[in-house]
């Protein structure tokens, strides 16, 4: 066995030495990887259709992406992902060729070139305090320049749109002044800024737009007080709600400030509790959101209001669009049954519609949330309208002429959690015709391939081969394959929608907008948090479909009640959902399953009680047997405490719930809050498989790994060091890492890196921890590795004892036996900063590991674990070299070919998931952020299978030729022999 292993090892080493890089060839791109680009939920939309050859729309999103989309197909022309903190506040178009964005709380103004998305200029605007953000572009007819007015950080700026130069700046930061609106009436040189001082004072400022001169400033007090926002009722009248929310206050602001109150109930009789005034930019009409409906109100005459329409279903309406001289239109979209109805109206004429369309919509898209309209000229010179609609699941679609032209599943840009599910097993009894067809195709394909191998293929053939390889039906089948490459990736998006993606080609197999994750009366702010594999049938329960568990909470606080949903992973139907009577602080999947292969889960609520799911007596029985051995720990990052708990007894609540358990605190580790602050933790993956506990080192010696699932890595930094790099000196920053056994609370290892700081990214696998941090003294990023060895097993070295089985290596171990551990550690410099880090995992854990590092450039780099080996030394001995130890260098090499994502970028990379396949050498890597990327990697090359491009036809032909040759020579020799005998 060992010999065979070593032989195979030798062969892999041989292969490795032959082929040092793991890079792809150009024609292999797309064979086993796919890449999908998304932008996220659209926030602002600017159409650019006038006289442009290619109609396009610029979109800024919740994921801080600015993208230019093709209006005809929805493809991305260009795209920029701003940083996670660089939120886009406003967007507009200036000079007809620049997209202007205001971001980072109104402090950064950028201009992007429309055709290619290059940044033209960037201005940093000084602000003194957080405030509302406004952006408006003004066009002076006599000037070639457009002036951009920006309000942000309590300051009003006028910026030239040619070069981003600040023309003038006015600070509006008197005490407790909150500017609510900054606007500029059409065709006037005056800019108005209106706001509240305190709760009951109304203040206006008027500025000269060209010079920034303060023309007028007036204040008026309103005894009723204000609440919420100010909206426009008409050009010279603003509207706000009073402090109680029961009156509408009309504010005349231009010359003299005067207030007029209207009691809402008089207008809308059965309104109970007005929520807010919806921000509209219509003239003469504004919208009021109540609990159940949206009410449109119109101003008639002076200070007189009338209800125009009341919409009870979910609806969205667009801003006003001026499409011809003096005419403004707006779009209103609402649900009618399973269809959505789009109506475009003139803003001053409610009763007639410019356009009325309705279209069938996928119920899994949820409700409409936003609509943006744009006009175009029809061939008959009439006006047509198109609408971009943002749905509840964050998808974006274009509606034009009564059809959905395109849809983008942009919910996939905000993935919260990912899990995998197996596909169904292939059923027997495939039809013969299909087989024949396949056989013919197969042969044809292989003959083409053979031609390619023998360099006989024409360019057409080569193209055909490439197309065949890319579109192989083999990889996108809906059944399990022998190698386990085909799976379903089940992802939960930020919008509360579940998607099942096929690993073969990345298509959405099914999607489900979870009812439990939608806003409803009982659950106002549902937040999805995690998904788990609930039932993974194999062996005896194969006839059941696997299912997954979605854990969500109703609200944001710690005491928000939990909701569980169970979803069939083949069909995407919700099997059942449970509204819990307790909150969920933690979900602990137990290593126990019941007879139907349902995994037992322990849900810990905010008060520290544990609840067992599924609530069946069988599960309870199984759980009972393991009861004393189950522990849990909680990390309190605010108080810097880690606590360990054990299950104690049944809950002594009024109603006896036998699936609820009290827990008691066993241990706690309190970090001194004045010197340490928890910034990062890591644990081993629950499903990681380790093949062996022994590590063979040079000269056939053996050391024993300390392999424990109950290992927690904690990194703390000095409180001062928890800030961006460069703001602390090396003397006042340090990084302390701990390895903690979470059963006993024992600190196995503690190490201090002086002069270092976070952010820390760490991974634990087998018996090692790798973490990444910043070394302030060296001004470089560093990566450290800690390997843990079990000294208490080191005596098991007698061959005879091992041969006869007289050893204690397979006896179960307890953390309470206090295993004697030895740590080995080493640090290296690393060039990149890191966004996320992960490690490959394979089915049996035999294959060597690679670290997958999400770099700042949104790529995934595969780094062999061999580079992070504490036994590396400058001059390794011959034996160590044979073992594969690389001579020590001060920094880790970055080999360009080892980028898993090759030339692609996974914009806004947030996480990397590795999924083992059935083939031991191979693992699937799923990287997600705004983009999605999936590929297959083999850390030690594919030693257990032939490569994709292996020519079976060539092999077959060789065999056939050889057999033929054997027959021919046999016949010849027979004949010759006969002749010899006759002679």
């Amino acid at each position: 066995m060992a010999m065979v292993l070593r032989l195979s090892l030798f062969l892999t080493v041989l292969l490795l030495s032959l082929n040092p890089s793991s890079a792809l060839y150009d024609d292999q791109v797309g064979l086993m990887d796919w890449h999908q680009q998304y932008i996220g939920k659209a926030k602002h939309v600017v159409f650019h259709t006038q006289k442009a050859g290619r109609k396009r729309v610029v979109v800024s999103t919740e994921e801080n992406v600015i993208a230019s989309l093709d209006l005809r197909r929805g493809d991305i022309f260009w795209r920029h992902a701003l940083g996670a903190t660089d939120t886009v506040d406003e967007m507009d178009i200036a000079l007809g060729k620049y997209v202007i964005t205001l971001s980072s709380g109104g402090t950064i103004l950028r201009a992007w070139n429309l055709p290619d998305g290059q940044m033209v200029w960037e201005s940093l605007l000084q602000g003194s305090k957080p405030s509302k953000k406004f952006l408006s572009v003004m066009n002076f007819k006599m000037d070639k320049d457009n002036i951009i007015f920006v309000f942000g950080g309590g300051c009003l700026h006028a910026v030239s749109s040619i070069d981003g130069e600040v023309l003038w700046r006015k600070e509006l930061t008197t005490e407790s002044l909150q500017i609510q609106q900054v606007f500029q009436p059409v065709d006037s040189d005056i800019i108005y800024a209106v706001g509240f001082v305190g709760s009951s004072q109304f203040q206006t400022y008027q500025f000269n737009a060209k010079t920034g001169e303060l023309l007028k400033q007036s204040v008026a007090a309103f005894h009723g007080g204000f609440s919420g926002e100010i909206s426009f009722a008409s050009d010279d009248i603003l509207v706000a709600l009073d402090a109680t929310g029961s009156h509408l206050v009309l504010i005349l602001y231009q010359d003299e400030i005067s207030f007029h109150q209207t009691y809402i109930s008089d207008l809308v009789p059965d309104s109970s509790g007005v929520e807010r005034i919806l921000p509209t930019k219509l003239t003469g009409i504004f919208a009021l959101k109540t609990d159940s409906s949206v009410v449109f109100l119109r101003l008639i005459g002076e200070y007189k209001l009338e209800v125009v329409e009341k919409i009870n279903s979910a609806a969205a309406f667009s801003d006003a669009l001026s499409f011809s001289e003096g005419q403004k239109a707006f779009g209103l979209v609402q649900h009618v049954g399973s269809r959505i109805q789009l109506v475009v109206k003139l803003d001053n004429d409610w009763n007639s519609n410019l356009l009325e369309e309705s279209v069938e919509i996928d119920p899994q898209k949820g409700l409409v949330q936003k609509i943006f309209i744009n006009n175009y000229m029809r061939t008959d010179k009439s006006y047509g309208f198109r609408a971009l609609i943002v749905m509840e699941d964050h998808s974006l679609m274009l509606l034009q002429q009564g059809v959905i032209v395109w849809t983008r599943e942009d919910g996939l840009a905000s993935i919260i959690d990912v899990t995998t599910a197996e596909l169904p097993v292939e059923k027997e009894g495939v039809s013969v015709s299909k087989v024949e067809h396949n056989l013919f195709e197969w042969l044809k394909g292989h003959i083409l391939k053979l031609k390619g191998t023998l360099m006989l293929a024409s360019p057409d053939d080569i193209a055909a081969i490439q197309a065949m390889r890319l579109k192989s039906s083999e990889k996108s089948k809906m059944t399990r394959d022998h190698n386990g490459f085909r799976k379903l990736l089940i992802v939960l998006s930020g919008a509360g929608k579940l998607f099942a993606l096929h690993t073969g080609d990345g298509r959405v197999v099914w999607s489900l907008l979870l009812p439990s994750l939608r806003r409803s009366g009982s659950c106002q702010f549902p937040t999805g948090s995690n998904i788990y594999q609930w039932q993974v049938p194999h062996h005896h329960a194969l006839d059941e479909n696997p299912s997954i568990l979605v854990v969500s909470r109703c609200g944001l606080g710690s005491d928000a009640l939990g909701v569980l949903s169970f979803v069939d992973s083949y069909t995407g139907k919700e099997l059942s959902s449970l509204s819990l009577a307790h909150s969920i602080a933690q979900v602990i999947p137990l290593p126990l399953t019941d007879s139907t292969e349902q995994r037992l889960h322990l849900l810990i609520d905010a008060s520290g009680r544990a609840h067992l799911y599924p609530k069946t007596s069988e599960a309870f029985k199984i759980f009972q047997s393991e009861f004393p051995n189950i522990y849990w720990y909680s990390i309190d990052a605010e108080k810097e405490i880690i606590r360990g708990h054990a299950l104690h007894s049944n809950c002594g609540l009024e109603e006896t719930d036998e699936y609820c358990f009290n827990t008691r605190e066993l241990w706690s580790i309190v970090f001194p809050s004045e010197s340490e602050k928890i910034i990062s933790t890591a644990t081993r993956k629950l499903n990681e498989v380790v093949h062996t506990q022994a590590k063979v080192i040079a000269d056939q010696d053996v050391t024993f790994k300390y392999i424990s699932r109950n290992l927690l890595f904690v990194a703390t930094v000095a409180p001062k060091g928890d800030c961006p790099i460069g703001s602390v000196t090396p003397e006042e920053s340090w990084l302390v890492v701990y390895l903690i056994d979470t059963v006993t609370g024992r600190i196995l290892h503690r190490m201090t890196h002086l002069g270092s700081q976070g952010p820390v990214h760490a991974v634990i696998s087998e018996n090692w921890v790798v973490y990444h941090y910043f070394n302030l003294r060296a001004h470089k990023y560093e990566m450290s590795v800690i390997e843990i060895y079990d000294q208490s097993r080191a005596d098991n070295k007698d061959v005879w004892k091992l041969l006869l089985g007289k050893h204690n290596l397979t006896t179960p171990v307890s953390s309470y036996s206090r295993p004697e551990v030895v740590m080995k550690s080493q640090s290296y410099f690393f060039t990149h900063s890191v966004k996320t880090m992960s490690v490959t995992s394979t089915a049996k854990g035999i294959t060597s590991k690679q670290l997958l590092i999400g770099t700042i450039g949104d790529q995934v780099l595969a780094l062999d674990k061999r580079y992070l080996d504490p036994r590396r030394s400058i001059n390794p001995t011959q034996a160590e070299k044979e073992e594969g130890i690389i001579p020590l260098t001060d920094s880790l090499p970055i080999i360009p070919q080892s980028y898993v994502t090759h030339s692609l970028q996974v914009e806004g990379l947030r996480g990397i998931l590795t999924v083992p396949t059935k083939l031991e050498s191979t693992t699937l890597v799923f990287a997600y952020g705004v983009d999605l990327f999936l590929t297959r990697i083999a850390p030690s090359r594919t030693y257990d299978s032939l490569t994709e491009d292996f020519s079976y036809a060539l092999l077959l032909i060789t065999i056939v030729a050889l057999i033929a040759a054997i027959f021919v020579t046999w016949v010849l020799s027979e004949k010759k022999e006969l002749r010899e005998k006759w002679r």
Partner: protein
């Protein structure tokens, strides 16, 4: 070179010492002073001598065969020395042939010594020598295998296949979800 002659004699069976008793041969009178009596009288001794020679020769042959592996052994040793101590195709090939040859030879011990079987010839000792030498050769092969590190003589060879020990306790948790 004597053995060669002996083989020739045996093959051809031409006996120049004419001990036939046919009269035709007796027709020719014996040369003067030649006494056939002594010759006839020695007839039995001659055949015995002949048999002795044959068995001698057989024994000799058996010993030769028995010693043949020495050459092989030396050659193998040389080849192994040439192959070096690292695992690669050449050294593995040589080692396996070094193992295979003696095993093959040992299997066919009976056949190798079959021609030399004789009641008078003692083939046991050559056989033993043959076996011993082949065993030595086998040992050489095994030794080579060991130096290549392909023998499970170390603890590491036995421990590697053992799965990691199970843990009694199970613990999980982390940062709260909110």
């Amino acid at each position: 070179m004597e053995k060669g002659k002996g083989v020739l004699v045996r093959r051809w069976a031409i006996d120049f010492t004419d001990n036939s008793t046919t009269t035709s041969s007796r027709d020719i009178p014996d040369p003067l002073g030649y006494s056939r009596a002594s010759q006839d009288q020695d007839d039995s001794t001659v055949s015995r001598q002949k048999k002795d020679a044959e068995s001698n020769w057989k024994a000799q042959k058996a010993w030769e065969v028995a010693q043949a592996p020495v050459k092989n052994l030396l050659m193998m040793g040389f080849m192994m020395w040439m192959a070096g101590n690292t695992v690669h195709l050449f050294s593995i090939g040589i080692t396996f042939s070094a193992l295979w040859q003696p095993i093959n030879a040992l299997q066919g011990v009976g056949k190798v010594f079959e021609p030399y079987k004789d009641s008078k010839v003692d083939t046991l000792t050559p056989k033993l020598l043959f076996i011993a030498l082949n065993l030595a050769s086998l040992a050489l092969g095994v030794w080579k295998l060991n130096t290549l590190g392909l023998l499970p003589t170390h603890a590491s060879d036995w421990v590697s296949s053992l799965p990691p020990a199970q843990e009694v306790e199970y613990s999980s948790g982390g940062l709260p979800l909110y």
